[in-house]
C-alpha cells in the first residue's frame, strides 16, 4: 500500500485523528492513514457547536461505503466550529484530510492534555505496526 502523508506539525491519536493547535482552538480531523483505510467516505456525522467533548470519547461518526467508525476527541473542551461542507461533500475527507476535510474545532478546557502526545514519527510507527 502507498505511503501515508503525516505532517510534522500535528498531534496524533492512536485512533487515527489528528489535532492542530491554532491559537486558542484545536482543529481536528482524521489522518491520511484513516482515510486510506476507510476508502470512499460517504457520510460524516458531527456534533453541533456548543457541544462538550471529552478526550478519548466519541464526538462523531465517519462512514465509508462498507464501514462505520467512531471519531474520538483528542482533547476535552467545547466544540466551537464544525465543518458544515462535509455534509454535502464528505469526499473532501479523502481528497484533503488535513485541509478541507477538517471536522471540528475544539476550545480545550486544559491545553496541557495535548502535551506528550504522539508526533508524526511515533504515529508513523503506530501505522506500520498495524500493517499485515
Amino acid at each position: 500500500m502507498a505511503e501515508y502523508d503525516l505532517p510534522d506539525n500535528l498531534i496524533y491519536n492512536e485512533t487515527d485523528e489528528w489535532a492542530r493547535v491554532e491559537g486558542k482552538r484545536v482543529l481536528v480531523g482524521v489522518t491520511d492513514y484513516a482515510q486510506q483505510q476507510l476508502g470512499d467516505v460517504v457520510f460524516v456525522e458531527l456534533p453541533d457547536p456548543g457541544t462538550s467533548v471529552e478526550k478519548g470519547d466519541p464526538f462523531g461518526v465517519i462512514e465509508s461505503v462498507k464501514a462505520v467508525s467512531d471519531l474520538y476527541a483528542p482533547v476535552s473542551g467545547e466544540v466551537v466550529d464544525v465543518n458544515r461542507d462535509l455534509a454535502d461533500h464528505p469526499e473532501q475527507v479523502n481528497e484533503d484530510c488535513y485541509g478541507d476535510g477538517w471536522m471540528i474545532a475544539i476550545a480545550p478546557g486544559d491545553a496541557s492534555e495535548l502535551e506528550g502526545r504522539m508526533d508524526s514519527a511515533a504515529y508513523a510507527k503506530h501505522c506500520e505496526e498495524r500493517k499485515e
Partner: protein, 373 residues
Amino acid sequence: MSELQRTPLYEQHRSLGARMVPFGGFEMPVQYTSILDEHAAVRERAGLFDVSHMGQIHFAGPAAVETVERLVTCPVASLRPGRVRYGLLCNEAGGVVDDVTVYRLAEDRLFLCVNASNIAKDRAWIESHSPAEAGVVDRSSETGLLALQGPESAAILAKLADGDAAGVRRFRFAEMAVGGRPALVSRTGYTGSDGYELYVAAEDVVPLWGALLDAGGETLSPAGLGARDTLRLEAALPLYGHELDDDTTPLEARLERFVKLERGGFLGAEALARRAAEGPRRLLVGFALDERGIARADYPLAAEGREVGRVTSGAPSPSLGRSIGLGYVPPALADVGTRLEVIIRNRAVAASVVETPFVPPARGPSATRVQEG
C-alpha cells in the same frame, strides 16, 4: 475460525493494491482503488471480478436430473442443455439452505454454482439427498470463476473468444476457448448489468485474468467485493446470510417466481405450499432513506415508533446518490410508499418502501421475454 483460503489470483490482487478481507472463508479483494469508482466502471464500462471462491457441485449419471429436480425449487427436467436457471435449495421446513444457479451441461450432466460460505454445508446436504447414480462431485477447488460485467463486456470478450460469445443470450451458456483456454461462457451475473461469468480450470484463471485485463485496457477495471455488493444491492439481488438463511423462506424473500409450487416434489415443497396458503409472516422490502444517513445490516426498522423488523443489507447507492436497503417487515407494511424509519444510532431516520430493483437492470439480449429463472 479455520484458516482462510485463497483463490489462485491472490498474488494478482495484492500486486494491484487490493485491500483483502475475509469473505465466505476466503481472503478476497474488497476494493482495488475505490468502491465508488469500481461500481461506476461496471455500470458505465466494464469490471472484472475474481469470484473463484464460489463453489461448483457437479452431477453426472442416470439419476442426475431427477436428483437436482428434487433438490432445487426451479424446474430442472425442462431446462435444456446450454441454459441456466436460478433456484433455491430448501430444507424440509422451507428455509433456504442456499441460493444457486443450475447449469444443464448435457442430458445427464448438470452443475450447481453455490455460495462460497455454503460449500461445505451444501455438499453435505446434497450428498445426504443424492443416490450414487447422481454422480455428485464437488469441483469447487479445481474451478476458477471470473465475472466480466458491464456494458462493454461483450466487446471485450469478443477479442479473446474463439466462438460467438456476443451471441450467447441471457441465462444461456456455451463452451468455447477464451484466450486459447477452454471456458464455459455464461451470460449471467450478480450486478444488474450485462455481462458474463467465465468458468475455467483453476490453473487457467490467472492467465485468463491477465488476458482480459490486457484486452479490456482502459475500458476494464478490476473490481472487488465492495462494488459487487453495492451493484447487487441496487439490483435487489439477495445475498445469502443477509436476505436468505436457513430460517427464511423464498416466499418471504419474494422469490416465489423461482419456486414452482405447482410442480412440487422438491425438498421443502410441502412446507412452502403450507406457508403460501397461510400467507407470509414477513416480507422483504426495498427502502430508500428520505434523510441523510446510511442503513446497515441489523439496524432496526420501525414504523410509527415501534420496531417492526431489521435491515438485512444497506448502502449508499452510487448510481442513485441516496441510501437504499433491504429488510424484512410485516406484510401490512410492505406496500410501496409505506413510511418506515431506520434506527441509526438510536435516531429514527425516515425511509420509504420503494420499487425494486432500485436501479433498472440493463442486461444482455434475452432469449425470450420470460426466461428469467
